[in-house]
């Protein structure tokens, strides 16, 4: 297995390597691989080297945080002061925020070294990263396949070792799905555990930032570094996790109650199902108690998710009017015409579809039947999860019904594409945490992801269960050959 954050941190501290050297190794690898893989859409090598120098100083002075000096990537929807942040949309081309997202502010303070902004589906709307205005990133494990989305660049950067870790955002599976497709670890924290300030909104009641890493331990380390309440995000919560989550990963699963809901396995590819079954058996062999449970409202989770996310998106994306930032149409007959042309030129088809769906479900005459109904079912889904977590510590489910799609997968209608989110969206609807970890490969050698889902602010248990699996299952997928040589 590749060196994790704590190992690199140790090597940085005993001067085996400096942050500048480490950063240069990643820069070299990115220069070599990025032209093909299209993982980064904006490179920040100059600032990275400066940050690395500063990190080396911090390390010299001692007492530096674990992530100090370690090169990483940010999804392109996380605002970075003075550096382009475009959500991979034409409408935000050239946009440079003059403020940092809270997560980036926190990481910067801890000496993080930003290599660049990672590719993604336009405005995080998609699950293949193909809606990016910069073209799709390629899956490093097999370049004929997509990375998954929407945080495809963030997952692929970690997979290809073009970053030690990255941050993504997850509205309906956008961290977990690409993590699963690329064979890395992706954590979607509890809604509110991490500040959303500076995350360019898609579906505000569902969006959450989280880490993509090579190991569960790294995910815990990065989550430790970014979590916490923020006075600039009223929906954030300063939850007391007791201590560093990375330091209490070791836990015997004996007596751990693991729920398995049949609804999560409806229509799942048999290869995936058998991988997850194997994993469940591993837990059972080690003393976990497997509970078969039922979450009937889950059947409606997918349309509920699309209705709520798109309703919020239709409103969140209204601000892109060409007046204050981003693209502005070059010729027009009136201000309304300018706004309409700007938006019609600036947004891609999937974004337009979702804005239109969101507008429709909120419009007078349809509000009750769609938006309001979806919110009521959301409450029902929450109640079902609450009941389940009365008797289970975590749930295990597949991350996606299939492994990675081939690139430019033709013939799939938008709705067919939405089905890939079926296992991930319930978690966002309920605002609970979940991790996706690799648990095998399909017959084509593509990674399979397993989700471990916890109760609100139950990240510790989720990470412990995932760490246990990672340590006990042995090698479940091949290592990616390539990337930075350290």
């Amino acid at each position: 297995m590749r060196a994790g954050i704590s190992e690199l941190a140790a090597r940085l501290r005993n001067r085996e390597i400096s942050s500048v050297e480490l950063t240069k190794a990643y820069i070299d690898a990115i220069e070599k691989l990025n032209p093909t893989l299209n993982i980064y859409v904006y490179l920040t090598f100059d600032t990275a080297l400066k940050a690395a120098e500063k990190a080396d100083q911090m390390l010299d002075e001692g007492d530096a945080p674990l992530i100090c000096g370690i090169p990483m990537a940010l999804k392109d929807n996380i605002c970075t002061d003075g550096l382009p942040t475009t959500c991979c949309s034409r409408i935000l081309k050239g946009f440079k925020p003059y403020y940092d997202a809270t997560v980036w502010e926190k990481l910067k303070k801890q000496g993080a070294v930003l290599l660049g902004k990672a590719n993604m589906d336009e405005f995080a709307m998609g699950n293949t990263s193909e809606t990016s205005c910069y073209g799709a990133p390629l899956n490093p494990r097999n370049t004929n396949y997509v990375t998954g989305g929407s945080s495809g660049g963030s997952a692929a950067a970690v997979c290809a070792n073009l970053a030690v870790y990255s941050l993504g955002s997850d509205t309906g599976g956008s961290i977990r799905l690409p993590a699963s497709f690329c064979g890395v670890v992706g954590l979607k924290p509890t809604y509110g555990a991490v500040s959303r300030y500076g995350l360019i909104a898609y579906g505000s009641s569902l969006d959450q930032i989280g880490p993509l890493t090579n190991s569960v331990k790294d995910a815990a380390i990065v989550f430790d570094a970014i979590k916490g309440g923020d006075r600039r995000d009223q929906t954030s919560v300063d939850h007391d996790y007791g201590s560093s989550l990375a330091e209490c990963l070791e836990r015997d699963v004996k007596g751990m109650r693991i729920g398995v809901a049949e609804e999560f396995f409806d229509g799942i590819n048999p290869e995936i199902k058998s991988s997850i079954d194997e994993a469940i058996k591993l837990f059972e062999r080690n003393g976990a108690i497997i509970e078969n449970i039922s979450l009937p409202a889950l059947k409606l989770a997918l349309p509920v998710y699309y209705i709520i996310a798109c309703a919020e998106a239709s409103s969140n994306l209204g601000r892109y009017d060409g007046i204050r930032y981003g693209h502005r149409a070059s010729s027009y007959t009136s201000i309304d015409d300018m706004i309409t042309k700007t938006r019609s030129e600036g947004f891609g088809d999937e974004v337009k579809r979702r804005i239109m769906l969101g507008t429709y479900v909120l419009s007078s005459g349809y509000y009750d039947a769609y938006y309001k109904k979806a919110c009521l079912i959301r409450e029902e889904i929450n109640r079902e999860f609450d009941a389940v977590f009365e008797k289970c510590d975590v749930l295990i489910a597949p991350t996606a019904p299939n492994t990675a799609f081939p690139l430019n997968y033709k013939g799939a209608s938008p709705v067919e594409m939405y089905l890939a989110d079926i296992c991930t969206v319930p978690v966002n609807i309920a605002g609970i945490p979940a991790i996706s970890i690799p648990c095998g490969e399909d017959s084509r050698g593509l990674p399979i992801g397993m989700q471990i889902i916890g109760r609100r602010f139950g990240e510790a248990t989720v990470l412990q269960a995932a760490h246990f699996y990672e340590q006990s299952a042995g090698k479940v997928i091949d290592d990616y050959e390539g990337g930075a040589v350290i």
Partner: protein, 471 residues
Amino acid sequence: MNYEIVCGIETHIELATKTKIFCGCTTEFGGEPNTHCCPVCTGQPGSLPILNQKVVEYAVKAGLALNCKINTRSHMDRKNYVYPDLPKAYQISQYDEPLCEKGYIELDSGKRIGITRIHIEEDAGKLVHENGYTYIDYNRSGVPLIEIVSEPDISSAEEAKEYAEKLQLTMRYIGISDCKMQEGSMRCDVNLSLRKPGDTKFGVRTEIKNINSLSFIQKAIVAEAERQADILEAGGTIVQQTMRYDEKTDSVAPMRDKENSDDYRYFPDPDILRFSIDEEKVEEIRASLPELPFDKLKRYMNVLGLPEATAKLIFRYRKVAEFFQGALAEGASVKNAANLIVGAIFSNMDTEEEKELFDIRISAAQFAALVKLADEKKINIGVAQGTLQKMLESGKPAEEFIKPEDLAGISDETLERLCREAIDANPRAADDVRSGKDKAINVMFGYIMKKTGGKADIRKAEALLRKLIGS
């Protein structure tokens, strides 16, 4: 054919908080364009709103002052529409859970105009159109507003004006807004329809937007009622639309934009948590309210016994009323205090604004000290007025301007001597008084006042003169 006016008013009032409703930027008026701005109030991607506590407090105050029920749980909604002055393309407002509901304003006639609801929301930026360009300043974007919606209980232009006037006065009084219509910190939209007397069904209504003075409210209603009546008389139908009142031509005309076709797609703002305000807090806010203006007016007339005209001049301005009451608390008499405020202090204040500000250099206690001298007849009203002017100019207390001999007044012996002198110097006037021409006594008053510098007690002098003349 006569028609009955059915009218409701929506009033937007800018709240006098220090910061905007969702960010820490100042609400101060003016400033260079786009200098009271941040990512939140210019709708930058990734920014999030944080609700200002003071806005909620002020709205609750308004609700309590207008006899509303306060909803202890409330939330913010998004109202979606596209306009360049609205940076997020939605206004954060309240739709189905406003802070206050079901209040009223009582008119002088005793009729109550219902208040349907009061909710909080954000203001938009300002557009300037010039030379083919539109320039945008977001300094006002995010300034907190309350919208006060009345029931369609208003049935005449006069009632509408009185409603708006009382609303304005009350809001100023409780200190939540300066309510300056000409500057836009209070704006009214009037909904109006006509129906035949006795009809219970409402007619089709129009909305006259953004009226910016009390007298225009009255005029706009008269003009729109006439316009609608003409249409109805000619057998036409009223079209539901948004109108604008043109003060130059004193007429109402439809607005041309597409506002009439909007669908605002309200939904709860996911960025702002639902909030609660418990009964205890509501009571705390209620306790912080001053005596409300129309309660005060009644008290001035019924308890203090002020004449209506004087009472109305004083109660209107909260600071004046406080000054007046402060003087009473220091022992000044109601009548002299009121008359000196209205007669002397107001003579230096030409505008409503000055009276509203009531920025004077003496304290209520200093004022009371002077009033008491007059109360005790140590000086007469004329001296009191003159002294008051000097006090106002210098900020110094009455002692600085009144000599001990003034305070001692004119002794009885001196006054008698002066009265004799006055009669001797004006024998003809004395004769006239004797023969019943009473006004002639003024000639002798003039003599005495001149000699005493106005300090003689005129009633005593009159009695003495009459005795000496023998009239």
